[in-house]
Point group: C2
Chain length 218, copies 2
DNA sequence: TAGATTGTTAATCGATTAACAATC
DNA sequence: TAGATTGTTAATCGATTAACAATC
């Protein structure tokens, strides 16, 4: 497997490849060509082959890709075979919504526990997940070593919580706070979900519709 | 104001410009140069000037940008002066979390009403928002003409709901369902928030950390 | 073998960066 | 006026697309 630096646009396409190949796999499809993937994904066949070739040679000339093998390889690339674990910090509405509805396991993460500082929430359950007292966070990380933490605390607690996570050696944060965590230069991966940015982009496109621009996005 | 087609990378940076300029504005800052913005945002000064010049001439040689004017212009570009309205479909955990916590007004949207089909939820309130019966959706859209709809219904109802919205002429959907809405070719803007894609990207970066890659993202 | 389709190299396209004349 | 900084043009860089030899 090649190991050059993979560009961001390629990384951003990986989940889409994965979803598409999952569908093919579960629909019983055995082989697929880059031309067929192109149709389903809206990327060029050339780009798809180029993207895959960053990670190895998954296909066979004159045949295409074996769906089962391709699925295996993409799961490998995405780290889905790695038994990741997670904790969640901040059991407000969003935190609880994620615990109840989001399929962490489908993304390869087993949810170990949630944390909150509200005594009314501590030691209750959200679905199958136990809410623990925030005071036990440090010790818990030391003993359980979760792969990543979901950050759904209020803005005002975000930077402090992030600092604790970085100090304790958590490898990554899935950050929903939308504010600066002050982790510049720290050895921790931060993946941000910024809902306001997303909605502002939508507002921009609405405005363009209004002012009569043709817009072929969406 | 120029009116060429604006590229996606530029559009994606607009919300970040906005946030940065908001901070400057509320901290009382009067003028700012592209060099200063560059430091705060991590984009090159050249790129910032290039991006702004897509929309007009907001600066002054030898001076920089007047923060108040720049803020006004970016708000204009993003459509924040347009009094947009919104409805929300599907008052499950995620829908309620958004209604309770997300600042729609800060993104220029006034939330008119929410809809659900569960009789236990219909005619209750979530914060200041009234939950209406899904059966009244069509008529409501006809009379109130909301600018956009937040789609937080279960996957199995997503395509149908999206169809209703498109038929009724709603201009945009903020889509949290993560599935295909079947709106190809319809005249409606769809902005997707795909949490699974985001978490899979995080998983990918975790995997790369594990296999000893240097990774300068985050 | 002939047809199909990959992986990769080369060509093109678009986005970012650098440079600088214009000018406040 | 001199210094600063824009808006824009030109140069560079990187990503996408096209082409094709390799080969199943």
């Amino acid at each position: 497997m090649k190991r050059e630096r993979i560009s961001n646009p390629v990384v951003a396409r990986l989940p889409r490849y994965y979803r598409c190949v999952e569908e093919l796999y579960y629909s019983g499809c055995v082989r697929v060509s880059s031309a067929t993937l192109s149709e389903r994904l809206g990327f060029t066949a050339s780009q798809i082959r180029q993207d895959f070739s960053n990670f190895g040679e998954f296909g066979l000339q004159g045949y295409g890709y074996n769906v089962k093998k391709l699925r295996y390889e993409i799961r490998e690339i995405l780290g889905l075979h790695s038994r990741n674990t997670a904790i969640l910090l901040g059991c407000g509405n969003l935190g609880q919504a994620l615990l109840k509805n989001f399929d962490f396991e489908a993304c390869g993460f087993f949810m170990l526990a949630a944390f909150d500082t509200d005594p009314d929430k501590v030691d209750t359950q959200v679905g199958p997940v136990h809410i623990m007292d925030g005071r036990h966070l440090k010790r818990f990380i030391e003993t359980e070593a979760p792969s990543m933490a979901v950050l759904t605390v209020p803005r005002e607690n975000a930077a402090e919580a992030a600092g604790v996570l970085a100090d304790a050696g958590v490898g990554a944060i899935w950050d929903f706070t939308g504010c600066d965590l002050g982790l510049e230069g720290r050895d921790i991966t931060v993946e941000r979900v910024n809902l306001a940015d997303s909605l502002l982009t939508l507002s921009y496109r609405l405005e363009r519709r209004r002012t009569g621009e043709e817009d072929h996005s969406g």
